[in-house]
């Protein structure tokens, strides 16, 4: 099986503009930033959450707390892998109790990552509200999960993969649609 790049979904510039819009939407629809906190899901949700917080800081003048969540221990497919995925630490240095939390991830697909992330959050406390913000929603849900803030809605087939490449992790900045061909 080979993987071929089919087309670019978002350029660096479009990612930047999309994040601007998402940051403004988050502030607008949160009724104030008092209890707001962003939590990035490892890995690519992490730089996205930091960028969103920076935009909110510039636009609204408030520093929204940002945390990092690792969902490895909450995955539902561990019993099907021979080698266990590596676990990382959460980095959430504020209490999540009564917070208005926005989970940040790069791609919303089956919804299983979001389910795992919510379970992880509940182990840390009881947020007042959890919403989800994704850069790309590519459909094919396997769980009743939807995002409150969506950067780009993309129709995909189930052999395709949405690859978000971010400067901080991948050394380049764009979103690609790739396909697996046998």
């Amino acid at each position: 099986m080979r993987v071929v790049e089919k087309r670019q979904l978002l350029s660096a510039e479009e990612i930047g503009r999309t994040l601007q819009r998402l940051a403004h939407e988050i502030v607008e629809k949160s009724g104030g930033t008092k209890d707001l906190a962003l939590i990035g899901v490892r890995r690519r949700g992490v730089p996205l959450s930091q960028r969103l917080a920076a935009i909110i800081k510039t636009a609204a003048g408030v520093s929204v707390p940002v945390g990092t969540l690792d969902i490895t221990l909450y995955r539902d497919d561990l019993s099907t892998v021979a080698q266990q995925p590596v676990v990382h630490s959460n980095e959430i240095d504020f209490p999540v109790d009564d917070r208005d939390i926005v989970l940040i991830d790069d791609v919303l697909y089956t919804g299983r990552t979001v389910r795992a992330a919510m379970n992880g959050l509940f182990d840390l406390g009881r947020p007042r509200r959890i919403r989800l913000c994704v850069l790309v929603d590519r459909g094919h849900r396997e769980l009743p999960v939807e995002a409150s803030f969506i950067g780009r809605l993309v129709e995909t087939s189930d052999t395709e993969i949405v690859e978000v490449r971010l400067q901080e992790i991948d050394g380049e900045e764009r979103v690609m649609l790739v396909d697996r061909v046998s």
Binding site: V41, R42, R43, D70, I71, L73, Y74, R75, D77, L78, S79, T80, V81, A82, Q83, Q84, P85, V86, V87, H88, S89, N90, D105, D106, V107, Y109, T110, R112, T113, A116, N119, F122, D123, L124, G125, R138, E142, D158, I161, V162
Partner: protein, 332 residues
């Protein structure tokens, strides 16, 4: 790429990279111990057999807690209540346990090599929780994690191990582990408990009989428990041990000013250690206990968590491909 561990039988066969990997994997579980809700479902549906053929309190409780915090169930076998008393052989006992289909076995036994013996004969991962005077690998790993946390790294330490080295599996595992990271190791205690042969156990191990000499320049001091059943032999009176080998605050000053004091427990205050030292700022004993949970959770997660390498799998090829796809955007 890290070579996959099938069992944890001892520190000696592990590479430095494998040890570092285990310690790195313990770090998220250290953070986990501070969660308000200390219960995961990660190993839900798995069963861990805790087979303690030799009395144990802290290691057994630590493994049991690690098991339940990961969401796995336990099968408990304890020496006092086991059919060993009725004359059953070790292999029959563990095969009986295995027939109840646990996904891993944590085992302590008074015979050196017992864990390796069982590992050769069972299909499931074996975690050595202490075998005779051979090794106690999880203790050495939790000690290393504690040292690494306090100092930032494990490299090039001067380590002094005090007490009954000869009978100590903790000492052996610590010597193997720390010497892989370039430690200079000094063993100190009554001559009958510190045989010269130990100098050949690993590179840079030396034997020093005067505690004052042994402590000079130490970065880490591991104080071993003096097993009272041994000290009551006429060969060495407790008073003499205290006089010559107790770690007192005066003696601790001979080590580096920021030297760490570790003790595998249970501590006997006033015998091998002065209570002032046991409760002092250089003492790491309670961190060791908490770190023990983290190390054991990490090991259980990696050794017991995966699907058996060769066993037929509940998910067929197509559904496992589907599930891999399901997380392809989440997994990196």
């Amino acid at each position: 790429m890290l070579q996959r561990l099938e069992h944890l039988l001892g520190i000696e066969p592990l590479t430095r990279e494998q040890i570092t990997f285990i310690l790195d994997q313990a770090a998220p579980f250290q953070e986990f111990q501070r969660h308000p809700l200390k219960k995961l479902a990660t190993l839900r549906g798995k069963t861990v057999a805790l087979a303690f053929f030799e009395a144990s309190t802290r290691t057994r409780i630590s493994f049991a807690t690690a098991t339940s915090r990961l969401g796995a169930d336990q099968m408990n076998l304890q020496a006092e209540a086991s059919s060993l008393k009725k004359g059953e052989s070790l292999i029959d006992t563990v095969r009986t346990l295995e027939a109840m289909r646990p996904d891993g076995i944590v085992m302590r036994h008074s015979s050196s090599g017992a864990a390796a013996f069982v590992a050769q004969r069972l299909e499931i991962p074996v975690l050595n929780a202490g075998d005779g005077t051979h090794e106690h690998p999880t203790q050495a790993l939790l000690d290393a994690l504690t040292i690494r946390d306090r100092r930032g790294n494990l490299d090039g330490l001067n380590v002094t191990i005090l007490g009954d080295i000869l009978h100590s599996r903790v000492a052996r595992s610590n010597i193997h582990l720390l010497s892989k990271f370039g430690a200079q190791i000094t063993l100190c205690g009554p001559a009958m408990w510190v045989p010269a042969e130990f100098e050949g156990l690993a590179p840079n191990v030396r034997r020093v009989l005067r505690i004052e000499d042994a402590l000079e320049g130490a970065d880490v001091i591991v104080v071993l428990r003096v097993q009272t059943e041994r000290i009551n032999e006429p060969a060495l009176a407790a008073e003499e041990y205290i006089l010559r080998y107790q770690l007192t605050s005066e003696r601790l000053r001979l080590a580096k000013s920021d030297a760490l004091m570790l003790h595998p427990g249970p501590m006997i205050r006033g015998l091998e250690i002065d209570p002032v030292v046991a409760d002092g700022p250089q003492s790491c004993v309670l961190e060791q206990v908490t770190n023990g949970l983290a190390v054991r959770m990490a090991l259980l997660y990696h050794l017991v968590g995966g699907a058996p390498a060769d066993a037929p799998h509940p998910a067929d090829a197509s559904s496992s491909a589907n599930s891999a796809k399901g997380t392809s955007n989440a997994a990196d």
